[in-house]
């Protein structure tokens, strides 16, 4: 997800006035942000990763090498992309905690401040990452009933499933335990409900049968946004809000933090969906999801029947999707420009939410993140 951003160059372009070119490249955004919050966030889940249970799992997962179980990819991604990919949510939670400043109330023992962030808020950032990772893992389960002989031995897949369920559950249990230690029932309720949202969002991603997944869902862009909110925004939005609650900030600040988290994640998802369509010439066309924003918008403008016709034409006789052809069809329509507009719209909403926070390094870093996810060539 986030890794795609690093592969891009950092040139800005025109567009909506507030989101003109400018702002440093992504890697710089991240490293400056990490300095602001006090330490590299890639260490955050280290304690958990080094636990006996996960070491045990890691050893067992080695048995999956050579099989086709998705857990292997998830694990690889975790190890090799930790520099680029992960812990972004945690970083945002830390930044917004710092940007909001100290509490106006008397806080209890839990709340000593380091680098302008309360220890409870740091714990929350870690919890957010734990939950996100748990679901990356739980997404990688295979349906035993749908396996074919080319997928390899059944027992490998069963074993992979077992490891995936266990390690995901372990991460979730750790998140729950840490949540309980925060001694704040509102935060527990908020984050637990975010987990429920995430499950529903992932459920929508999954609910298609193999035949159906060759088509765009029969949904409007507003339904698409609701589903994407659940799968990609709710966790971060509610975590940002919870961070404010931990410092006993006002309801307005809590809402602004929520709005930032929500709109920035939406922008990020749109940005990610747009990548196959905005890259300059490339020899290979990236495959893209037929439920990505440009495709859904294109369908909305064109009408579903006409869109299905275009998909069939791109499938040709062999039933193999010609993504280049399909991509050109989408580019020829209004899907791409609408998606860019939508991305920038959410970006502006995120920036507007930031206005409620006093100017600071942390706030600037949060703004830079928005610029980075709304930048197109």
């Amino acid at each position: 997800m986030w890794g795609a951003l690093l592969r891009r160059g950092g040139r800005g372009a025109g567009g909506l006035r507030r989101l003109v070119s400018g702002g440093p490249p992504w890697s710089q955004v991240v490293s400056e942000a990490e300095k602001i919050v006090g330490y590299p966030t890639s260490f955050m889940s280290l304690r958990c990763l080094l636990s006996d249970e996960l070491s045990n799992i890691a050893m067992q997962v080695r048995k999956l090498v050579g099989t086709k179980h998705p857990l292997l990819d998830t694990a690889r991604g975790f190890v090799y992309d930790s520099r680029n990919n992960l812990q972004m949510r945690g970083l945002v939670v830390l930044l917004i905690s710092k940007a909001a400043g100290p509490s106006t109330e008397e806080l209890s023992f839990q709340h000593n401040m380091v680098s302008g962030i309360y220890s409870s808020q740091r714990s929350l950032a870690e919890i957010t990452e734990l939950i996100h990772t748990a679901f990356l893992v739980h997404r990688g389960i295979v349906n035993i009933g749908e396996l074919k002989s080319c997928d390899g031995p059944l027992k490998d897949m069963q074993f992979g499933n077992k490891m995936a369920v266990l390690s995901g559950d372990f991460l979730l249990a750790n998140a729950c335990t840490s949540l309980a230690q925060l001694q704040n029932t509102k935060v527990v309720e908020l984050i637990s409900s975010a987990i429920g949202d995430l499950v529903q969002g992932i459920y929508y991603e999954n609910s298609k049968s193999p035949e159906e997944s060759c088509l765009t869902d029969d949904i409007s862009i507003s339904t698409w946004k609701e589903q994407v909110f659940l799968s990609h925004s709710a966790l971060l939005a509610k975590s940002c809000q919870a961070a404010m609650e931990l410092a006993k900030h006002s309801a307005e600040i809590q809402d602004m933090a929520f709005q930032y988290g929500k709109h920035m994640s939406m922008s990020h998802k749109l940005h990610s969906d747009l990548q196959p369509f905005v890259k300059e010439s490339s020899s290979d066309t990236m495959a893209f999801s037929l439920n990505s924003a440009p495709a859904v918008l294109h369908q909305e403008f064109l009408g579903r029947e006409a869109w299905i016709k275009q998909i069939r034409e791109a499938q040709g006789r062999g039933n193999i999707m010609d993504y280049k052809k399909l991509q050109e069809a989408i580019k020829a329509g209004k899907g791409v420009t609408s998606a860019i507009d939508l991305c920038r719209c959410h970006g502006n909403s995120a920036l507007a939410a930031l206005e409620s926070f006093p100017p600071s390094e942390a706030r600037a870093a949060l703004a830079n993140i928005v610029y980075a996810v709304t930048r197109f060539p």
Binding site: E53, N56, N143, L166
Partner: protein
């Protein structure tokens, strides 16, 4: 491990191993000499006593499962059809009343205590859904499992959703101590599963490992939900300890009998296939006891019954040995301990019902 040694109990680890090795010398009369508190309360069927409070339990659970997608809702509701034993909520509700009566003679169950019963059942069910994926099980409670019908991907999500809904309900009670007590259960359930992954080479260690796993996977939920309702009903920490010990001992006994039934019952009665544990490579109480008489079983245990014919051979050894009897004796001892603890509370129909329940645990056949 610490759950055993932290709490003071006559059944600490060294004692258990003693019992393990000296079963031949335990006379049955010793078991009957426990001092059952004489009370004037009439004998009542525990399930009748708790019925009013549990009447709408499953409906209320379904209300907590607020899900917009029809299919996901169907999956989450699947086990809350009212056909389960409702054993755990029953204990929780009876314990709540027993503690309330002990404290101030109130027989009413508080709303928060009832919530604990609901939450406990939800956490339990969520773990069952995941266990069935892990074990690749295809039937439970006499019907197909969630993963069998809807696939493993969705089953895992359904389990996660039920757990998140339980957490929301837990937060809404508004008591951070209760949140900590019940969150411990979630952690114990997962660690119990991990314990099951590993195995011990040493015979002595194996039994301790088995009991620890049994505590974490089964007894912790009952122990901690009993403790939670006692905290809500009564401020006395001694009462919390009594409730916890009752729950812990009954929970372990329950699982021990479950492990016995896996050998002695037939599939129809049980609602799930038998010798299931052996097929999963698990060496439970009857097997561990049998191994003392048939050391040939050691090799099978170490390779987790993976060779063809192992399961059948192990089963035969168990049925030839006194493994079933020994495990049942051990369960009786735990029930005895549960009774001893709960008898410290003020007499009440609910207290008697909880004692009655320990006997029902021993006599169940499914």
């Amino acid at each position: 491990m610490c759950h055993f040694t932290q709490r003071s109990s006559t059944l600490s680890f060294p004692k258990i191993c003693n019992i393990f090795w000296r079963f031949q010398h335990t006379s049955t009369s010793h078991l009957c000499s426990c001092s059952k508190t004489v009370s004037n309360e009439k004998y009542q069927d525990p399930f009748q006593l708790g019925r009013k409070d549990l009447k709408n339990l499953y409906e209320d659970i379904k209300k907590e499962l607020l899900v917009s997608t029809a299919e996901l809702k169907e999956m989450c509701d699947y086990y809350f059809d009212g056909k389960g034993k409702a054993f755990r909520p029953m204990i929780v509700v009876l314990m709540a009343r027993a503690c309330n009566i002990h404290h101030n003679n109130s027989r009413e169950v508080q709303a928060s205590q009832r919530s604990v019963a609901i939450i406990a059942e939800m956490i339990h069910t969520a773990s069952l859904v995941h266990d069935d994926v892990i074990d690749d099980a295809n039937s439970r409670r006499g019907k197909m499992t969630v993963n069998q019908i809807w696939g493993e991907r969705k089953a895992v999500l359904a389990g996660d959703f039920i757990l998140s809904a339980a957490s929301v309900a837990l937060a809404r009670i508004g008591n951070t101590t209760i949140i900590s007590v019940l969150t411990q259960v979630i952690e114990d359930l997962v660690r119990g599963e991990f314990l099951q992954l590993g195995s011990k080479e040493n015979e002595n260690e194996r039994f301790a490992h088995y009991l620890e796993k049994t505590f974490k996977k089964t007894a912790s939920l009952i122990a901690n939900s009993c403790k939670a309702v006692s905290i809500l009903g009564c401020p006395d920490p001694k009462v919390h300890e009594i409730a916890y010990q009752y729950g812990k001992n009954v929970g372990i006994a329950f699982q021990l009998i479950d492990d016995v039934l896996d050998f002695t019952s037939c599939a129809d009665r049980l609602g799930k296939p038998t010798a299931a544990d052996l097929k999963l490579g698990l060496a439970t109480g009857p097997v561990l006891f049998a191994c003392r008489q048939f050391p040939e079983m050691n090799a099978m245990i170490m390779r987790r019954f993976s060779k063809p014919g192992d399961v059948e051979r192990a089963r035969k050894y168990v049925l030839q040995s006194d493994g079933v009897q020994q495990t049942t004796y051990l369960a009786q001892r735990y029930c005895h301990e549960a009774t001893r603890e709960i008898s410290k509370l003020r007499p009440s129909p609910e207290r008697e019902a909880l004692i009655q329940l320990t006997e029902m645990v021993l006599l169940r056949d499914k």
